[in-house]
Symmetry: D2
């Protein structure tokens, strides 16, 4: 690990967050435990590190140990002083404008969330509507609601370290979506989160759409690993993964899933779990799984797994389209039109999916301890959407055990997670995970995969 080039400079604000009160500045400068400085510095560094791809957060933090960020109040508003910032984020000595905007989005959201959650005694996490209201407030404060815009936001999910030909494919899909005027929303990292944006951007260019939306939804825990691409022109930092997932499904109008690993599988189980909720039965929600020819096996396996575990109804909620970007964009376009008609008919907002019911199972954070993993109830007697919730947790635990710092540490100390449940179901789970191993989707290609779980039955 070598020292990296750095730049120290002062940057002007952009966007709507340009004025702070003295009180807010103090909070951001406060380096104590209750202050916001630590969080702000860490997110800012992730943003500034955007041109480097690589998911080792720790390493980044170490490389830029002497990085710091300070607020400068001035007659024309506030400025940010960057000290020893990654040089890659600068062009001819000036911070790339997209990076600059994202920097101020971080500032905006950190302050807002802290003022409305952490420090507001009225906020309680117990109620489901409280959480939804909070997600709503964060998005509104970030100006993410464009009320006159008809449904056009396509969420793109998929792996952040996919193969080159898969990446090229996501660009082609994005291009067709962009040509049809759709906007892109992703988790804002590389791979399947960047490709569709690049493609859609060129599609927009040809249609002269200069205000296309490239929405990135992230959270402090993941931002360093999946640093927002500067093409993202609306960045929102949600406080945790559950609120981020809720933001995806309430803000987005449809979802395209590209190939990925167990993380992508977790996202699929999340959205299916919600759509299987009987209360959401009649709500249209376009959902397309797609990839190039080479990804066919991946989706076939997932489809088989879903059929065998969650049943046909679950399978009826999505479409699989292999190697046909044009068809994906048409399916998505027609799905969005259905969404538009539905919302108009029910008087539901275009900009926020109020009607979708999301149960606490999907809102409450899941802590993947060995105990919690072992206690997961995995059996087909459960209502399908509850089973989906539990399978999602299992998948979430495996992601943690594979790559998240805390999970890896636990596995090292206590051995693999023990998953138990209905024998037939467990066989399905085993087979699915085994296929991920074989397709090299469990870890970065080239490395040997040592499973972090054991299936008991």
């Amino acid at each position: 690990m070598t020292a990296r080039n750095t730049v120290s400079t002062i940057v002007n604000p952009v966007g709507s967050m340009r004025v702070l009160s003295n009180r807010e500045v103090s909070r951001l400068q406060d380096t104590s435990q209750k202050g916001l400085h630590r969080l702000f510095r860490q997110c800012a560094l992730a943003i500034l590190n955007c041109e480097q791809e690589g998911d080792d957060t720790e390493e980044i933090m170490e490389q830029f140990q002497d990085f710091d960020i300070r607020i400068v109040q001035e007659h024309r508003g506030l400025k940010l002083e960057l000290i020893n910032a990654p040089a890659d984020a600068f062009v001819a000595g000036k911070l790339i404008r997209g990076v600059r905007e994202n920097l101020f989005s971080v500032l905006r959201d950190i302050l807002y969330v802290s003022s409305h959650i952490t420090e507001d005694p009225r906020f309680t996490v117990e109620s489901s509507t409280d959480i939804t209201h909070l997600v709503f407030q964060i998005l509104r404060h970030a100006d993410a609601f464009i009320t006159k815009q008809v449904p056009s936001i396509v969420v793109c999910w998929g792996g952040h370290s996919i193969a080159r030909h898969e990446y090229e494919y996501t660009k082609k899909v994005g291009y067709q979506l962009g040509l049809r005027g759709m906007n892109i929303c992703t988790g804002c990292g590389p791979g399947a989160m960047k490709g569709p944006m690049k493609g859609a951007y060129i599609g927009h260019a040809k249609q002269r759409i200069s205000r296309g939306r490239f929405i990135g939804l992230t959270e402090p825990g993941i931002i360093a690993a999946e640093s927002p691409n500067p093409i993202v022109n609306e960045l929102v930092i949600l406080p945790d993964i559950e609120k981020r997932l809720e933001a995806f499904v309430r803000l987005g109008h449809g979802i395209t899933v590209f190939p990925g690993g167990p993380g992508t599988c977790e996202e699929i189980l999340y959205i299916l779990g919600i759509l299987l909720n009987p209360a959401n039965k009649d709500i249209p929600f376009p959902l397309v799984f797609t990839g190039p020819e080479a990804a066919k096996a991946y989706f076939e396996k997932i489809d088989e797994f879903i059929g065998n575990t969650l049943g046909e109804e679950a399978q009826s909620r999505y479409q699989i389209i292999i190697d046909d970007p044009l068809e994906v964009s048409r399916a998505m376009r027609s799905g969005l039109e259905q969404v538009t008609r539905f919302r108009r008919k029910h008087g539901d907002a275009y900009y926020f999916n109020w009607l979708l019911q999301i149960e606490q199972e999907f809102q409450a954070p899941f802590d993947p301890t060995h105990e919690n993993m072992a206690n997961l109830e995995l059996n087909t007697q459960l209502p399908a959407h509850i089973l989906a919730a539990n399978l999602r947790r299992a998948m979430s635990g495996i992601v943690a055990g594979n790559i998240k710092e805390e999970g890896v540490t636990q596995i090292r100390a206590k051995g693999p997670y023990q998953l138990t449940g209905e024998p037939e179901l467990m066989k399905q789970v085993d087979s699915l995970l085994q296929s991920f191993v074989e397709q090299h989707r469990m870890k970065l290609p080239g490395s040997h995969y040592e499973p972090c779980y054991e299936i008991k039955n």
Copy 2:
């Protein structure tokens, strides 16, 4: 009193306040004591009544007893349903756009203030910085800060029922200010609050300034009497008179005072009291008293009074310019340039006067009971700025006793207020008030004035 023409319709939102959560809608619809519906309805009616001049709030409310306003949530955002609204606010069946904007500003501010004061247990009125921070937050939330704009906001104070030639004069001053690119901020009623805006608008037209700012600062207690002119394109509703006055001096960069009655005198004492605070000694703040030839006596009398009570230092903080709109605009322009230089030098914000120190005496509401009036300490041994604060309160009480509902009732029940204090000072007060009576500035011209106070010494 006759029934008035009314219109019932649904209006689309304009401006930034277009999205409400279900929770916020409930609060606005709530007609119970803790709900916001009553307040919202009353302010909305004031806005809709803009084409009528007249300050009898009660009468208006009675004329439109069956007026109501409701929130309609829709797929493209919210709408407002107006029921039996004053027909004057409509042109060819459509609500005048400026009125529409102001309607949504009311909605925005009522919700914000209620959420951040009334319902937030963290807010306490005891601290001076808390109040300033609140004024800051309300203005920021209303997008009143344009950070890149150099100081250009001229506050215009003066009577709302001035004579025709005085009104014409305020238009001429406004025209010259507008030609020089200055923006206007007033209490947004008729008379001296409307004339400068009209004049400045034509000045802006000649300079092709299409985004001129016509800021109206009002409060629920006065909005019905001083209904915002639709030329006002930035309306902010502050919760009470003290926060409104603070907003004037922190947002505005200079003040022009036109002739008025004791209310205008109260405003003069307010700003002088702040400027006489030793902490504010070096802060430039352009302050010009001006009127046509016929208003000369008015300002001479006030100048004499100030000289005899608050002293020469107070006199040094303002300029009196009679019958010379061009000179007023030049003095104001050069004053604003001084403000700009000062703020740049001290790194103070252009958009909010953080440095100005405002003491609790000026922030705490004064309740003009007979007892409070009698207890006012009026003597020249006090520091000048404290004396100014007390004189302002006395003037405030007289305004209440003259025209405010509660004050008038008290006077009827208990007779005139009794003002006591240092004999020489009381003579000055008496003489000043007497001059207002003679100039017919105590009440609407034509009516006989029965004093609501007695000077003891």
Copy 3:
């Protein structure tokens, strides 16, 4: 006559005319007979003299004998150097922006017209469609066509030196037109040409119309006497009075006529002559004569005259509305809607009235020599629209004899014009002109009027 304050400075261009070729610069600098410098200087001076009202062109030219204007080519485009320009056009040393824009409009039109008429051997004045095509090209080049805009341009005609209460009335009408979203087009001088613009501007303000159109159509011969008000934000210089009148009726969608003198009467005869053309029988064209109560006699006399000479059909093409601005705006609004429906139905352009047939009688310049005046055929056996054309010429001659330099000189040399024709018709003409004399509309109020014509029969 005293020397006036002047300013010398360099001004940057605004609007679309910002780039000249070296060749064009040479033409503008060319002070020889075939060069454009003389014309450019004279029009520029008229624009710069906008804040002075007064129609003595000669006097103005003499006051600013040493005024000059030069082109400066620069890396960012061209600039204009003004030498000894009238100081009134400057505020704080900077040229009023509206004046600046109008200055560059002059430049644009002078160059264009010279390149497309004077110097283009293909252009012949003989054909009616050639003239119409030229008017079209000048307006298009000046960006006067906003294709997506539905018919909304109201032409306001009337005297430039009307009485105060008449002026106030034109403002009120303008206000109501503006509130209803209509745009104003005038000859861009003072009086009835300025009042409606000022009023409409405030109406637009309340409706938040920031791109309202204030179109001024002028010509080099009149621009000095009727200097464009800086509120005019689209100034077009047509080459002569006939093309200017054609521009009015092809660009405007309706006409409001305020009181004036014989000039206004000439305009009335012009538009009636066109509308009486059988080819234009079915083309809707809203035409309203309006004024305050005191102007009632004026329009009654004109109405009587028209009834007695051109007949009932002519009377059926206009409406007279006295002292009711609201009603004027409603009549105009509904007239414009009729125009819109008609054009949509016939596929005619919104922005240019192609269908209206204008005969050569109305396009060819009339030179008011004694001989031409004496030869005018004035008798009711003529088709009504031809009679209207001849009556217009008579009126045009009288205007010239009253105030135009050349006309006045001729009258001095040869005595009054001799008008002959059908006895009954001549009695009508005499009576009409007599009423103008009695109403002091022949010359500026206060001065004695010596007729420049004699009616023979």
Copy 4:
């Protein structure tokens, strides 16, 4: 050759060309020899065929024999009716907006050029300043001059059928140029004309440049072979190749040359010929030859040829940068800054390079007959810039003999062109051309190349 899908529809205009006079419509509809319909139809088809790459104009024309285009005049302006247009230009039944814009640019330029050259008796081709003035007028009429913009237009030249890795390289260079805020101007076909635009577009995205300029300069003779990419957002059609080349060097501020064939070599000789003109000695003009590692030989050979024929001074006017996009963008950026300083110092326009002297040798069309080719004076005794002009013509002839319809026909009839000249020089020419053959740059890769020339000495 199979029939292709077509669409018939009516499209609305975009951009500034939205209003035509009846006269202009007639000219465009006129299918006779002197009418414009044939030219308009052909260019329109080329624009509509944008999604197909392939340079066989004839084939395209044949595939869409029944394509037609008509003008529809309407109340809101004109529309275009497309009959049997290529379906690829449509998305969901609507014409891609970029294509639509380009379609109306064609309309605009065809009309303008015909009105100002073909039909204007004042225009003569004999004078050099006449041609320059015409190029200026066409560009101005197309709104290509943005006067306030500092020099930022980089012209990209190079082959339209380059190898994949060369194409990828042009994208990378474009990306770096875009990140630095530079705008791209090309001949608007595929290959080296499309890559830099795509790259720059993503660079602009990151810098939030929403009004980046992607200028395409083309001419009727080449437009079908190099159909404008819809990313091009400013399309200008010049009347012939010489005016197009002049437009490149007067509008552009610097040039980047990517690998190509003899056509690219022709462009290099054109710009060097101009820069070698002693009158242009001190005019800065950044010129960079660049390509990936594999293109090194190409540029080395060209550099050697230039050194041996035009000399060191010629070599001093360009820089060769191999496989380093970042360095290219830096060199270009610093070159543009030099241009900016120079123009500011000399008061020369930013938007049009007036100072550059272009002699008739470079403006007059060269007709590559066998006779003209044989008569070319090729010897090093000539002034370098004249020699460059002649070498350019030789290269131009070879391009024609290789691929242009007329040239190929002549070669077939009369055998190869005979080039004669100074023996040493001819050896250089031979060696250069030979290297093109070896690098497969003479024709599309894969095909055998039969030389269309013979070198005599």
